[in-house]
């Protein structure tokens, strides 16, 4: 019995209505957006429902969109995988730029623990309810969130390499 995307969409819309929207099928993965306050309910539903059965959290990461309007500047992306019917799904949840926070899903999927710590470390997104939200890859004393777009990759003091010869401009990297 194959699980197809219309079934997933119908079940989600039937249960969550307006909080799930923007369903697309892009590059062979079905994706949707979820309002950030409903994310734990949606993931729990996707995991426990007998037809949907998304038992595995493949990936959790963050993205920074400084060009968006203020309430959509950060997003947390969840990739789930249903091993029984072999279906993948991608869920994006946009959160505010000035005070990014979202509930943790580490009580639903244990592997989200370190993935959320990494996202906090890189973007400063606060995962409410996380058991140990501290930096994981960078130093504990660091005060900036390095993956945010405003932080430059290099400190600009290089004299040995001229970016013009590599085709690098302000616009393209």
């Amino acid at each position: 019995m194959a699980l197809d995307t219309t079934q997933i969409q119908d079940k989600l819309v039937a249960t969550f209505g307006e909080s799930v929207f923007n369903f697309t099928q892009e590059k062979s993965i079905f994706s949707l957006e979820v309002a950030s306050d409903k994310i734990t309910a949606v993931l729990l539903f996707l995991k426990n429902d007998e037809t949907l059965r998304f038992n595995f959290l493949t990936d959790l990461c963050g993205i920074h969109y400084p060009e968006n309007d203020e309430s959509h500047q950060f997003t947390v992306v969840y990739h789930l995988h249903n091993w029984i019917d072999n279906v993948r799904i991608k869920i994006k949840s946009y959160i505010s730029g000035t005070n990014p926070e979202i509930k943790t899903v580490s009580n639903i999927f244990l592997c989200a623990n370190w993935m959320e710590r990494e996202t906090y470390d890189f973007y400063g997104i606060n995962f409410i309810g996380h058991p140990q939200l501290k930096r994981i890859l960078n130093m504990d004393e660091m005060i900036s969130f390095p993956m945010r777009k405003e932080f430059p990759m290099e400190d600009g003091g290089r004299t040995d390499k001229d970016d013009r010869f590599f085709g690098r401009t302000i616009d393209n990297c």
């Binding site: 493949t58 072999n86 244990l110 393209n172 990297c173």
Partner: protein
């Protein structure tokens, strides 16, 4: 204990002060420090111990964090391959091929069959070398050096094969969008044939040394077991998950690069302990050897080694000097004026340690907007403190090496 070498407000210091054993002994703290010959890579574990038993562990990682995801946002696509090499550096061709396949998924490029088979061969070679290291180092951690030294010369032979293909031994930077940068020389195929003749003999001897060895079995059976439910909850994939009994393999679930043409089994263990992980990796090496032999036997004729996508694949340098189109394409590719759609793509392959995924978000420019690596080591290392709870210190070392945690992939 008069001084604890931890700050006094550390959680373990509190626990030690409060707890009093009946025989008057105290709990102690052991710093399985970041640089340690038995931890394969740089990760620290602060262990709270009751004599020789571990009660709790606090891992610290990030010693080899090189900000790959940030660098990738500022580099054109073909300059990101060297970053992918350095993640799981024991099997870098797999990382390279996974990156090229992600780009081909993004750009809807169809790779010719022969190039796909060549990719399968090099990925399975990389898988063999990864498991070779893991299992032989597991032997070293239990005290058996001979197996390690004996099979490591075959890793040297594989380095020579990589060198024939791409010029580099360890961090291979192999391939292009659509295939390989040059066809494999006859010498590469000859070395591959010699390897396929000699390696199975040596691997059989390696297996015989360990599999029914009383000391090895005592050191590894029932050490660090993990149940299938716990493993799935902790995001395990790859040989560690299969040792626990779940037969999830990305090559079977979502075949890529013509894996559906090959006949192979997915070995599965039962209890998820160290011995099962060792045996699953051993069996996977046999399956990889079989896949390489099938690929060589079924290799399509001809010498197609890349897709015909001049917009993304660098033309041969000799043509650039006198052919106008080649000159233009060369310039555009290097300077980044290639057509890139605005899209998001996630592609996963079966790496040596599990599902290695690349989540790529593009915005039409020549560099990714966001590139996230779904690194299996990072995800399953979370379970390590739980796996060593209650174990002896020497078991903790053995569990760590059987998990095959590669520091490059842990931190990226």
């Amino acid at each position: 204990m008069s001084e604890l070498l931890l700050p006094p407000e550390h959680r373990y210091a509190e626990i030690i002060k409060k707890r009093q054993n009946e025989d008057g002994s105290e709990l102690s703290i052991l710093n399985l420090g970041p640089t340690h010959p038995a931890t394969h890579g740089i990760f620290q574990n602060i262990l709270l111990m009751d004599g020789e038993r571990i009660l709790e562990a606090e891992p610290t990682i990030g010693y080899i964090h090189r900000a790959f995801e940030k660098i990738a946002e500022n580099r054109p696509f073909y300059q990101i391959t060297p970053l992918t090499d350095r993640m799981n550096y024991c099997s870098s061709p797999i990382n390279n091929m996974a990156w090229w396949m992600t780009l081909e998924k993004l750009l809807d490029i169809e790779v010719p069959k022969r190039a796909q088979y060549l990719r399968v061969i090099v990925m399975e070679l990389a898988r063999i070398t990864d498991h070779l290291i893991c299992n032989s180092i597991l032997g070293v951690d239990t005290g058996a050096y001979t197996g390690f030294l004996y099979v490591f010369q075959f890793r040297e032979k594989v380095y020579e094969i990589y060198e024939e293909i791409c010029g580099a031994r360890l961090t291979t930077n192999m391939g292009r969008i659509g295939g390989f940068e040059r066809d494999w020389s006859p010498e590469a195929f000859r070395k591959l044939d010699v390897f396929l003749e000699e390696f199975p003999v040596a691997w059989k001897e390696f297996e015989n040394l360990f599999e029914r060895n009383r000391i090895f079995i005592d050191r590894t059976v029932n050490v660090g077991p993990i149940s299938a439910e716990k493993a799935m909850a902790y995001g395990f994939t790859g040989p560690n998950l299969r040792a626990a009994g779940v037969d999830y393999d990305v090559r079977v679930a979502q075949p890529y690069s013509s894996y559906e043409d090959f006949d192979f089994i997915v070995p599965v263990g039962k209890s998820g302990d160290t011995y099962d992980r060792f045996c699953v990796r051993n069996a996977e090496v046999w399956e990889s050897i079989s896949i390489i032999k099938q690929a060589l036997a079924k290799m399509p004729a001809g010498n197609d080694f890349h897709a015909d996508v001049p917009a993304y694949y660098l033309p041969p340098k000799e043509d650039v000097y006198h052919d106008m189109e080649s000159l233009i394409y060369h310039f555009k590719i290097v300077m980044g004026e290639v057509p890139v759609p605005v899209s998001e793509v996630y592609h996963a392959v079966e790496g040596g340690n599990g599902e290695l995924g690349f989540y790529l978000v593009t915005d039409g420019s020549r560099t990714p907007y966001r590139l996230h690596f779904r690194r299996p080591c990072f995800i399953y290392y979370q379970a390590y403190p739980e796996m060593i709870k209650g174990a002896l210190l020497s078991d903790a070392i053995v569990i760590l090496s059987s998990l095959n945690v590669i520091a490059g992939e842990l931190d990226a």
